[in-house]
């Protein structure tokens, strides 16, 4: 039977992990839900900016990057070990974001499998929004 998750042994360093690159619509609803769930009262998030745009929290990156990575998931029980982000600018409500990911390092430590990936998120115009490096401990495979 085929597993419905990505096996650690199926990945190689240098692989483009997401093909095709998934898209994510930044809606007012998703931004509001995220702000509420994280108890964020940052005042800049409650008003439109000078250009009349509704700004999303920088850490919404956690949603659109993970949403993209979720299109190819590891086994249940995997956890986040390290995270780097660079917020080139916040996303705006109404934008469509595209996140690509590349496997850059695969290694084992203390009996656990680690996967390190670079990610890059751009909007529909190709403008760079967020880049990052995510290190995950791959879940145990059945």
């Amino acid at each position: 039977m085929m597993s419905d998750y990505v096996k650690y042994s199926s990945m190689s360093e240098g692989d483009d992990f997401l093909d095709p690159v998934p898209s994510f619509e930044v809606t007012k609803e998703c931004v509001d839900k995220y702000i509420k769930s994280t108890n964020d009262s940052t005042k800049e998030l409650t008003v439109d900016d000078e250009q009349g745009r509704r700004v999303a929290p920088p850490m919404l990156a956690a949603v659109y990057v993970i949403d993209a990575l979720r299109t190819r998931v590891g086994p249940p029980g995997g956890i986040h070990a390290k995270q780097q982000f660079k917020f080139h600018r916040p996303a705006y409500v109404g934008e469509t974001l595209f996140t690509s990911a590349r496997v850059v390092k695969l290694y084992e430590r203390k009996g656990r499998n680690y996967v390190e990936m670079t990610t890059e998120t751009r909007n529909q115009e190709g403008e760079l929004i967020t880049s990052g490096i995510i290190t995950r401990i791959w879940g145990k495979e059945a």
Partner: protein
């Protein structure tokens, strides 16, 4: 790139305003719903019992949302437009924990495009360090 000891009102050794956030399963469930990250380790107590942790844990990225709140309150412009974060997750946040986010400027850096503050950052649950690393944000116009 060169290092400074101070820039305007920013000084090496300055503390960021601490944040303390109580986390319960309701908050974890709400974050799972908002983020779409429904890994059973976070939201399914029966599954979580079978894991190394023995019970549900909060998403690591939920803890980083608290970090972002601290940085947004401290220096929104520098954080949202060019901010950098580099952290390791050292331990779990369990339902019932209070997360304390603490930061201190340890370097002021002159880069080609401006002046940046680097802050050592840590998140604690009581005496346990759960996240550690640094953040960088621009402090010059």
């Amino acid at each position: 790139m060169s290092e400074l000891q101070a820039y305007k009102d920013y000084n090496v050794g300055d503390q960021l305003e601490e944040l303390i956030q109580f986390v319960d399963q309701t908050m974890i469930d709400a974050y799972a719903d908002a983020s779409g990250d429904v890994n059973p380790l976070h939201i399914d107590p029966e599954f979580a019992k079978t894991t190394f942790f023995g019970r549900t844990i909060a998403h690591g990225l939920l803890t980083l949302a608290f970090v972002s709140r601290v940085l947004s309150a401290w220096n929104w412009q520098g954080w949202a437009y060019g901010g950098e974060l580099n952290v390791s997750f050292l331990g779990p946040v369990y339902p019932g924990d209070s997360v304390r986010v603490s930061g201190e400027i340890d370097q002021i850096l002159q880069r080609e495009d401006g002046i940046y503050a680097r802050c050592q950052l840590a998140c604690f649950c009581d005496e346990r360090t759960v996240v550690k690393g640094f953040v960088i944000s621009k402090i010059s116009p």
